[in-house]
Symmetry: C2
Subunit: 360 residues, 2 copies
DNA sequence: TATTTTCAAACAAACGTTTGCGCACATTTT
DNA sequence: AAAATGTGCGCAAACGTTTGTTTGAAAATA
């Protein structure tokens, strides 16, 4: 009697589960096993097309799985395998065109290689960045992509990841420390091309509105400038390169000193497109004409402007993002580093390039 | 003899683990338990400040945990609790200022409420959107925030989430279907203010470059326009509102018809800032002056332009993102919907507002 | 002293999946 | 006929944590 009852109950139970009445919870492999009266492992192997499972069983399992809308519980799998298939990305500002383009590159690589992207903006705030790093750690991302904030001056918060064996790749804004993986652009080359371009156009007095001297990027620009002058056998005049805080007022200030220079430049290379726009607006307000501007970034907004730089140095953010993500995922999937063998660090430089728009 | 050996081995083992020599793997609660010779559950409860654990034990556990750099394995916890504390966000384009601002609002709420953000861009491609939805599903996000792509015309791919009991909240670009949660802006109000503003400035013939008639947003703009005319006891002339595909050439085309209109407008409301810039550039090229432009979006690039609309309708993307994220997380954490009780749908409208910049 | 209450800690199950090992049966080879 | 090989599947452990229940001892009450 008891046996009959329990058997009856089992039938009812499977039936209900089959019709998905009793639970709103997602179907599991267990339920499939129970209904089909086979073991869980068989179901698992059947769904994964394991060679040791008969064709008929596979069919039966797959059919029922489809009917029950079975979806493997990723959380269980992630837990079991110790992988989340999530990469974390921390960057300063998505509203900066460079980063919103870079993230597209990152995303594209991630999806292609079966990863998803956990995103966070530091808004150029070092404290927030630390907090985000913490978040990424507790989420146990499989890897981390970082472009550090302008205000970050210490870098210990990234150390934890080494201990946890979670690879970190920096891109664009990289910290000035050793033993890191990074992808960045080299502006020296682009600057060289830019100055060369201006020289070929006949300019002989070329000014440069550079950024704060603390930035690596400023240094690279300067080097490119010098290199171009030297390779054209021209004398390099250091006073033609001025530093600027990149604000509008700062730009106007240095523009004024530039215009009062004993050798007034006929062309100016500016730190970025925004500085270029400020500077050009200023010269127009002074009703000065004929100064050629070359800039960096090649922002899309340039297409909407009335007055634009005649050329721009492109840093290929999409390419940089793509490269960084590729390296990161390679690092995630590399074989375990044997104890003792020191690992190599990826230091990739994406060359910048001068873009000369078609004259209208 | 055997006993001595096994005991010795255990000591060595704990010692090694204590010094973190043997494994590069993260410390677990188990190891702590073994070293302290207490049970796992005690350790777990001690770390979580459970009331039934003695103060001394708590101290011992916490001290050792700190020394071993213990970090709870989130994957295990997520698996156990069936929650990932991740919300998915699918939106068309981060390079559009609206979305990069909105995501900041989403992020801020998410972090405040202890969630992280899994991001994906559809690039306005319906197929890609479907794929991303699939990704989000397999990642089993706790909730989903979506701004649908321009090319999306079917919406079944979102249905799955209902079955999985994963809440979905749409924002800004919402699908034209019933029974969804959404946050969107109402442009009628902002348009009303915009037209009113122009009327107060003395304009009597106000044109409007509207978007495709299929868009809800176009309809709202039109309604706002009409409402303003009526409330000022002015006749509404439908021929002053023209549809445009929002491209530069399309804009120029409709501008020409507008300028050849028997009642040439003295002010024009344009669908967005880009259309405004195209239109203004065109009028300048025709050396027409004196037409006032009002637009939508209030993009940051406006600050860099020489000629800008005299006012802009702001849609508060940050606020919209924030609101949408808040609703989503509320939905995630709401008590289980009892069977039978139909749940309500959140339909939130963020009012738009006319922003008039300080005249320079 | 006998009973109940309180406190501290242990036990064990559970979450869903994968995977190494082993068993039983069938087929082929010696 | 015995042995080797192959096929199809089940058993059980493992991943790290939380949590309901249980146990044991000490303290408080009767």
């Amino acid at each position: 009697m008891r046996i009959v009852f329990s058997k009856l109950w089992m039938v009812i139970e499977s039936l209900c589960q089959y019709l998905n009445i009793m639970s709103d919870k997602p179907t599991t492999i267990k339920e499939i096993a129970k209904i089909l009266k086979i073991s869980v492992s068989t179901v698992s192997r059947a769904l994964n097309d394991h060679s040791s499972i008969g064709l008929t069983t596979k069919m039966r399992v797959k059919k029922l799985a489809a009917e029950l809308n079975y979806e493997p519980n990723q959380k269980a799998i992630q837990f079991l395998q110790g992988k989340s298939h999530i990469i974390g990305v921390i960057l300063p500002e998505l509203s900066e065109s460079f980063f919103s383009t870079a993230i597209s590159g990152i995303e594209d690589v991630a999806y292609k290689r079966n990863y998803t992207v956990l995103l966070a903006q530091s808004h150029d705030d070092a404290d927030r960045e630390k907090l985000l790093v913490e978040k990424m750690k507790t989420q146990r991302v499989d890897g981390l992509l970082v472009s550090v904030s302008k205000t970050t001056s210490t870098y210990e918060h990234f150390e934890v990841f080494k201990k946890l064996n979670i690879p970190v790749v920096f891109f664009d804004r990289i910290p000035p420390i050793k033993d890191i993986h990074y992808v960045a652009s080299n502006l020296e080359n682009g600057t060289y091309e830019a100055v060369n371009f201006l020289l070929k156009k006949g300019h002989r007095t070329i000014g440069m509105i550079n950024g704060p001297t603390t930035l690596v990027a400023s240094h690279e620009r300067k080097e490119g400038y010098i290199k171009a002058m030297i390779s054209n056998r021209l004398k390099f005049d250091p006073s033609l390169i001025v530093s600027c805080d990149l604000s509008e007022s700062g730009t106007i200030e240095v523009m004024n000193t530039m215009l009062n220079h004993r050798r007034k430049p006929t062309a100016i290379v500016t730190f970025n497109d925004y500085v270029a726009l400020f500077a050009m607006r200023h010269t127009r307000s002074l009703e000065l004409e004929g100064i050629d501007f070359v800039s960096y970034a090649n922002l899309p907004i340039i297409n909407y402007m009335d007055y634009t730089p005649i050329a721009s140095v492109e840093q290929f953010p999409y390419k940089q993002g793509k490269k960084a993500a590729d390296i990161l995922i390679d690092l995630i999937n590399r074989p375990k580093n044997e104890t003792g063998t020191e690992q190599a660090y990826f230091n990739v430089v994406v060359e910048s390039e001068l873009i000369i728009p078609n004259p209208k």
